[in-house]
């Protein structure tokens, strides 16, 4: 394009664009990356270091007690206590620094003898072995309290996933999400496709009014529907003696709420199919049902796929409808509901939250990257949509 060359003809401007886009990409990518990395980290490391340091390991400061004066051995004029700081707790990693005051827990570097006053010298090696020397006898039989900074190597694990899938009910929620999502994606496509064909190619009174109604209903906020429907479901439930919160109940709710956009998108597409095909099929004596099943459905595949992806993402990611139309018991929750519940009950346990979030968002992300083409096409066709 000529425009290209003139707009960013000079080097610095072009470089600036590259830099800006790179910055934007980083800003957009980093939040999700944080969750993915954290979900794979050891849960003890998550709380002591930021996830961006995950690959360089973490440094942890702990207090340990050296051996008491009774373990001292005389060495010429000096008394020496030696041993390992990890004797009690087992090795935590490599000691990088140590200190004797809580205010300055990493005052001295590991491997170098430090003069800690009072005629005392302390040497702690990276492997944890120490040598505590004094120019007179140790009086205290209680060991000295010191602080060490321990660098632990990066630790990655799949344990967090095991915990959430079996222990936190995420596995059950995954199945529930699928049970809600699959019918709530297929049923509206079927119903909307039939309606869209009727609105595009069949003659009946009130047709244009119905098209206007569908467009109007696209933007009606869900909130308007919740109260009457909740009451209706409860009444039907108690009338028939069945629970009011069932899978068919939520399938129908999702189907209905997705219906206006589905009809709108599919009607636009089906109305644009060549007239000759449909008319020649009619002349050959095919009924509208045959035409629909044998001609329209196969030809509309791109539009059906676009809407299917929308609806799938929408249902899978929905929280509000699931909260209202499905039970809130632990084995009834869908993934978004579980995640919401965990945010309340496990607020600080990031190993659980991040692993659960990972399980929740991985399916839509795979769908997204696999079928992005259809998604974009659908967006462009339905940009009248209100969500």
């Amino acid at each position: 394009m000529t425009f290209d060359r003139s707009f960013f003809r000079i080097g610095p401007a072009r470089l600036f664009v590259h830099a800006m886009v790179l910055l934007i990409v980083i800003v957009w990518l980093v939040p999700t990356l944080g969750i993915f990395v954290t979900a794979l980290r050891d849960k003890d490391q998550i709380t002591v270091s930021g996830w961006w340091t995950a690959f360089s390991g973490s440094t942890q400061t702990t207090a340990v007690r050296l051996d008491g004066g009774d373990k001292a051995q005389q060495d010429g004029p000096n008394y020496v206590i030696s041993g390992s700081v990890f004797a009690a707790a087992g090795s935590l990693g490599k000691v990088s620094a140590f200190g004797v005051k809580a205010q300055d827990p990493s005052a001295f570097k590991a491997g170098e003898p430090a003069d800690i006053g009072n005629g005392e010298t302390l040497l702690i090696n990276t492997d944890g072995s120490y040598k505590y020397t004094k120019n007179a006898a140790f009086e205290d039989t209680r060991g000295k309290r010191i602080y060490i900074s321990v660098a632990s190597p990066p630790a990655f694990t799949l344990q967090n996933f095991k915990t959430v899938v079996t222990g936190e009910g995420i596995g059950q929620s995954f199945i529930n999400s699928l049970t809600v999502t699959i019918p709530a994606t297929i049923i509206p496509i079927l119903i909307a496709a039939f309606a869209a064909y009727a609105l595009a190619w069949m003659e009946f009174p009130g047709r244009s009014l119905m098209i206007a109604l569908v467009v109007g209903l696209i933007v009606v906020p869900l909130q308007m529907s919740l109260i009457p429907l909740l009451r209706l479901y409860n009444e039907i439930g108690s009338f028939l003696g069945v629970p009011s919160k069932t899978y068919p109940g939520i399938w129908l709710a999702h189907t209905a709420f997705g219906m206006p956009l589905a009809i709108y998108l599919l009607r636009n597409y089906i109305a644009g199919l060549p007239k000759e095909i449909i008319e020649s099929a009619r002349v050959d004596g095919a009924s509208d049902f045959d035409i629909f099943v044998k001609i329209i459905l196969p030809l509309s595949f791109p539009a059906l796929a676009s809407f299917a992806i929308f609806q799938f993402l929408w249902v899978w990611n929905d929280l509000l409808i699931a909260m209202v139309f499905l039970g809130t018991g632990k084995d009834e929750l869908v993934l978004t509901g579980s995640l919401n519940a965990l945010l309340g009950s496990r607020g600080g346990n990031w190993e659980i939250l991040t692993a659960s979030a990972f399980v929740t968002i991985i399916v839509p992300l795979l769908v997204f990257f696999g079928l992005q083409r259809y998604l974009v096409r659908g967006l462009l066709a339905g940009s009248v949509k209100g969500g």
């Binding site: 425009f3 939040p31 709380t47 009946f204 933007v219 919740l226 899978w316 978004t336 929740t360 462009l380």
Partner: protein, 338 residues
């Protein structure tokens, strides 16, 4: 586990099967009840064919019409009526619920916050979307960049909330800050804060989440619109000596006003209904309440108050109304053009 998967699978097949069976059998039944086979009386056959073509559209559109009526049209009317009734929906109370709303601090707070969201989020998404669309169209790896900006569209609001809650995470005392934002603040010598509990400003921290999700949508649509701009208009501007800035604002933007309006209104409607983010991040605490969450709370608060809840829903509906009218008029024009 196996049993759960099996029963889930059974439910799926049953649900989808029932729906497919309706269309198949209702149409077969129609053909069977009004036969028009060769060899039949010509008059009867043509009459039956005519009747079929009158009935069949309703078989096709029936289920959709039923669902729209029960799940959308009826509730809109019922919600309107319920707003004049008491919490159980039994006693007529006139305008009492509306009076309550006007006097309620939380309600006014929600209105204020919603206006704040409306002022910031659609504008920010459209602006970033446009800028990113223009920039990514000019570089060879633009499509990869677009994919990444578009990606949050696939993530649920709840998932996005967890992602961002982790970024805003605060650790007290001398603990290492594991939230990215506080770590950065600390790096530059600032003091870490509990960002989502600072009244007024926390709204913006929640808005960032929605902007992060929705910018990709704006970018995709605006990028397509930008590609539709005739090149001659830009070439002419270049020849006339316009610089990049002028070309962008005076040539490109005016030609895509229509698309910008669509993007803006679509995000506006989304913002009016924002619920999940506020629920999971603050649940309306620290003055961050919005209408959709207040409405949901009143559905269940104190045993549920359908009257107050309905009033709040109506306010959201009222705000959507102008966009709805605009959409219908635009769609009518389009069908008229056909």
């Amino acid at each position: 586990m196996i049993w759960q998967i099996g029963s889930a699978l059974g439910a799926v097949v049953l649900g989808v099967g029932a729906c497919a069976a309706y269309f198949l059998f209702s149409n077969k039944l129609l053909d069977f009840a009004l036969p028009a086979r060769e060899g039949d009386d010509v008059f009867v056959a043509s009459r039956n064919l005519r009747r079929r073509s009158i009935i069949r559209p309703w078989l096709f559109i029936g289920p959709a019409l039923f669902l729209l009526a029960v799940y959308l049209v009826y509730p809109v009317i019922a919600t309107f009526i319920l707003s004049f009734y008491d919490k159980g929906g039994e006693q007529y109370v006139g305008l009492a619920n509306y009076q309550w709303a006007i006097g309620d601090r939380e309600f006014r707070q929600s209105i204020f916050n919603n206006i704040l969201w409306l002022a910031v989020v659609p504008a920010a998404c459209t602006f970033f979307g446009l800028v990113i669309a223009v920039m990514t169209d000019r570089i060879w790896w633009g499509n990869i960049a677009k994919s990444i900006v578009f990606m949050p569209m696939a993530i649920s609001f709840v998932g996005a909330s967890v992602i961002w809650k982790f970024i805003y995470e605060y650790r007290g005392g001398n603990d290492t800050q594991i939230g990215l934002l506080n770590a950065i603040v600390q790096l530059f010598g600032g003091t870490p804060e509990v960002w989502i509990s600072i009244p007024f400003w926390n709204n913006f921290f929640l808005m960032i989440i929605l902007i992060w999700i929705q910018t990709g949508f704006a970018m995709v649509i605006l990028s397509a619109a930008l590609r539709g701009i005739p090149e001659e208009t830009i070439e002419a501007a270049v020849i006339d000596g316009a610089n990049g800035w002028q070309i962008f604002w005076k040539i490109m933007v005016p030609q895509i006003w229509g698309t910008i309006a669509v993007v803006w209104t679509t995000i506006t409607i989304l913002v009016l209904k924002v619920f999940d983010i506020v629920l999971t991040m603050t649940n309306g605490q620290w003055d961050s309440m919005v209408l959709a969450n207040l409405m949901f709370n009143w559905m269940f608060r104190g045993g549920g108050d359908s009257g107050r809840s309905a009033v709040i829903a109506l306010i959201i509906m009222l705000a959507v109304m102008p966009i709805m009218v605009w959409n219908v008029r635009r769609a009518n024009q389009e069908t008229g053009d056909h």
